[in-house]
Symmetry: C2
Subunit: 125 residues, 2 copies
């Protein structure tokens, strides 16, 4: 069972109030202003709990290894959350959404990456 603590609450508060997408290190620095002797390990543990609870998102898959793909053209992927295999998703890449976004926000958009998450055929529950 997950128990409340001022550390976890502080971590959550910092994350909620952030407009950036902070790293664990940055969260640590912020929370330290309120709880000066909190440790980085606690921040990581707190973030993991909050993530598991569905209260925050973790972007990307840092901490896991990089995967490489011999195909250079953009294509989409499916990652099995159980066996961690990555499958290519067939089908056309929609290049128009880059342009659409560029027009909307005025940034230069080179590409996009789309990754599906779920359970592959061998890992069905």
């Amino acid at each position: 069972m997950i128990r409340k603590s001022k550390q976890k609450e502080a971590i959550f508060k910092v994350l909620k109030g952030a407009t950036s997408h902070p790293t664990a290190e940055w969260v640590y620095e912020q929370v330290r202003q309120e709880i000066p002797n909190i440790s980085l390990g606690t921040v990581y543990r707190g973030l993991k709990l909050l993530k598991r609870n569905g209260e925050i998102l973790e972007l990307g898959f840092a901490g896991t290894q990089s995967r490489f793909d011999g195909k250079a053209e953009n294509h989409y992927h499916f990652r099995c959350l159980k066996c961690n295999h990555i499958f290519d998703v067939e089908g056309p890449v929609d290049k128009k959404i880059n342009e659409r976004l560029a027009q909307k926000i005025g940034f230069t958009v080179f590409e996009h990456r789309l990754e599906f998450h779920g359970l592959c055929k061998d890992c069905q529950p």
Copy 2:
């Protein structure tokens, strides 16, 4: 200028022939069968060169730090390749594509992540 070498060729060949999406470690093991005394560092350097040359893709953003997001609901992101800032992309998340993919390949699809890459307003060339 980039010079040819049997190491880089072997790395590229392994990656081209792989149906999986290998890790650097796996590539290393494979290439070692051909060049037994190749080092892991060389594999990393070779992969980086191939990536920079646009000949292969790197999946995910491992090696960089995790970023966290106080918003729990799925939404899309834009990552500036120069300043490395991450921006939220407004607009609806298309949940139907999960279903469509699930029907097509018979996997269970929980979610998808979409990330745009480019240059933000402050980093325009």
